[in-house]
Symmetry: C2
Subunit: 327 residues, 2 copies
C-alpha cells in the first residue's frame, strides 16, 4: 500500500486498517500449490495500485453503518475482478507498460497472461462463494456479464469513426461503471442499508466510474507517460474513439474531420501533437472535462439523501480527486 | 443435439429430455441486449458437441435418486465452463479448426475470442449464483481454480522434454479431470447422496476425465482430421509432451530419443509419419491405451459401491465408449 500517496492517503485514513485486511484476504486467496503461480501473482500485485474500488466499498459501508469481514472479502473480490480485467486488457491492447512496469503479457507471453487473467477471475468467484448467501455472487456475476459486454461492444466498434457519444457511454457504463457501481452498492448492502440508500450508492458508483473512464481516456491522449505509468496513445492508434475524438469528429470542419478519420482508421499516421492540434480546434478536451465534471456532480448529488459524515465527505472528495487524478 | 449419434444417443436415452432442458437453460442464460453478442454465442453453441459433462452429471443424479431443476442448472453451468475453456484454448493453441468448423479466434480475431471466453465464464458463475445455496458455487470456483492451474502448469512446461509422467498426470487431473469429477460429484450431491457415495462419484469422474484426456492427446497424434473435427498435431508442433511422447522419450534408444527431442523443441521439423515411427519403436501408443484402460477400470470400480441400475450401467458404458471414441 506504500504506493498510495497524499491526498488519497489522507482520504483513506479512516479505512487504512480495513484496506490492509482487504489486501491480506486478496493475497491469501491467491496462494497456490505451485511456486511459479505464486510468482506470477506477485507480479500482478503491482496492478492493485490505488485500491480505489475496495476503498469506495469500505467507505460506502462506513457511511451506512459499520465495516465487517464481508466488506473485506468483497473488497478483495472486486479488486481481483478489476486486476483480472487489467491483465486481459493488456493482452488485448498489446500494452508495453502498466503502472510503470512491464505488463505480464510482454514478460510472460500472451498465453500466460490469458491464463493468469482466468486464474484471477476464477479465484474472485471462489472467494465470493465463501460468503454465507448468494446476494453478492449474483450481483458480481451480473456485473462481470456487463463488463464483458462493454468490452465486446468496444471491440466491435474499433475503427468505427461513426461511434456516437451515446454508444460510447453505453460502453463505458458497462466496462468501467458497472464495477464501481457494484462496489458501492455492496458496501451499502453489507452495512444493512435500506433499498433507497443502496440505489443511491449504486448511482454514485456508476457516475464515479463513468467520470473515471472519461479522465482515463483523456490521459491516454495528453498524459505524461512517467506520471500515468502506462503506455499512452494506445486508444488512438488502435482505432478506439473516446469522448474527445468523438466530439472533435462531430464538430470539426470537414478537413480536420477527414484527417482525424483517416488517422483513426490507420490510413495515415499522425503523432500526438497532430491529434492535440485537431482537438484544440473544437475545444474537445475542455468538453470532455466538462462532461466528467457533470458526472462528478451527479455522484455528489446521489449521496445527498444521507446525513453528512466523515465517510460521506471522503467519498465525494475521492470522486473530485479523480478529476485531477494521476491515479 | 442432432450431433449426438449412436452409440452415445442410446446411452443418453434416459436423459434425453433432461439434456434438452440443460440446453434450454444454457441458451437462456446467454441472451444479450446486443444482437452481435447473440451471434457470437450462436457460434459457440457448436462447441457444445456431445454434452458429455452434463450427461455425466444427470446420470449421476439418476443413479443416486432423481433429477431436479438444480441438475439442469448445474449441467448448463458445467458445460458453459467447458465451452469457455475451449474458446480460450483455441486462442492459446492458435487452432484453425474445432468440431469441423473454424474456431472463433480465426473468424473474429483473438481479442473477440478472449472476451467471448470471459463472457461465457462470467455467465457460468452468474447462472450458478441463481441456486439457493453456495455449495455448488464453492465447488465450481475450486474446480476452475484447478483448471487454470493445470493450464498454467502445462504452459510452463511447453518445450520441456524432461516432463515426467507424474507431472503430466498432475496437469491433466487439473485441466480435464477436475471438471468431470465435479460434474459427477454435483450430480450426486443434488440427488441427496451421502458423503461416501459423493466421493465415489468424484473418483469416477476424475478417472473418466483423465482417461478422456489421454485418448484426446492420442487422437491429436493419430486421428483422422475429418473424424476428430479439429486441428491435429498441435501438441507436438507446440512443444507439448503427452503420454505417448513422454513414454517414448523415456524408453527409446538414444538416437530416436534425440531426434524426438529436437523435433519437440522445434529445432528440426518432423511430420506425423516420423512421429508415428518413433512411437512404434517403443510401443508408446499401446502403452498410453493401456493406461487409459486402467483409468476406465478405476472409474468402473468406483461405482461398485452402488446397486446395479440402468443409470449406473449407462455411466460405465459411457466411460468405456470414451476409449474407442471419436467424440
Amino acid at each position: 500500500m506504500s504506493r498510495i500517496t497524499a491526498p488519497l492517503a489522507d482520504l483513506y485514513s479512516s479505512i487504512r486498517s480495513d484496506l490492509r485486511e482487504v489486501a491480506r484476504v486478496f493475497d491469501e486467496e491467491l496462494v497456490s500449490d505451485f511456486p511459479f503461480v505464486d510468482d506470477l501473482c506477485d507480479r500482478v500485485r503491482a496492478y492493485r495500485g490505488k485500491m480505489l474500488r475496495p476503498a469506495l466499498l469500505l467507505l460506502a459501508g462506513k457511511t451506512c453503518g459499520s465495516v465487517s469481514s464481508n466488506h473485506h472479502t468483497l473488497g478483495a473480490v472486486i479488486e481481483m475482478v478489476h486486476v483480472a480485467t487489467l491483465v486481459h486488457d493488456d493482452v488485448l491492447d498489446e500494452a508495453d507498460e502498466r503502472r510503470g512496469q512491464e505488463p505480464i503479457n510482454s514478460v510472460e507471453g500472451n498465453v500466460a497472461a490469458v491464463l493468469l487473467g482466468d486464474y484471477l477471475i476464477s479465484h474472485a468467484y471462489h472467494l465470493c462463494s465463501s460468503l454465507k448467501d448468494q446476494t453478492a455472487a449474483r450481483l458480481i456475476g451480473a456485473t462481470t456479464n456487463a463488463v464483458c459486454e462493454g468490452e465486446l461492444l468496444q471491440n466491435r466498434h474499433r475503427g468505427d469513426t461513426n461511434l456516437s457519444e451515446s454508444l460510447y457511454f453505453e460502453i463505458i457504463k458497462r466496462k468501467t461503471g458497472a464495477l464501481t457501481a457494484t462496489a458501492c452498492e455492496l458496501g451499502a448492502i453489507c452495512a444493512g442499508a435500506d433499498a433507497e440508500v443502496v440505489d443511491s450508492f449504486r448511482s454514485f458508483g456508476l457516475s464515479v466510474g463513468v467520470a473515471f473512464q472519461i479522465v482515463d481516456d483523456m490521459l491516454d491522449i495528453r498524459g505524461a507517460r512517467q506520471e500515468v505509468g502506462k503506455s499512452l496513445g494506445l486508444d488512438f492508434s488502435d482505432g478506439k474513439l473516446t469522448l474527445p475524438t468523438i466530439h472533435c469528429l462531430a464538430n470539426a470542419g470537414p478537413e480536420t474531420a477527414a484527417a482525424l478519420r483517416s488517422a483513426v482508421l490507420g490510413k495515415t499516421t499522425a503523432g500526438r501533437d497532430c491529434l492535440l492540434r485537431w482537438l484544440a480546434e473544437t475545444d474537445s478536451l475542455a468538453y470532455a472535462t466538462s462532461v466528467a465534471l457533470e458526472y462528478i456532480g451527479r455522484a455528489r448529488s446521489a449521496l445527498e439523501i444521507l446525513p453528512p459524515s466523515d465517510a460521506r465527505s471522503s467519498l465525494t472528495a475521492i470522486a473530485e480527486f479523480i478529476i485531477q487524478r494521476r491515479l
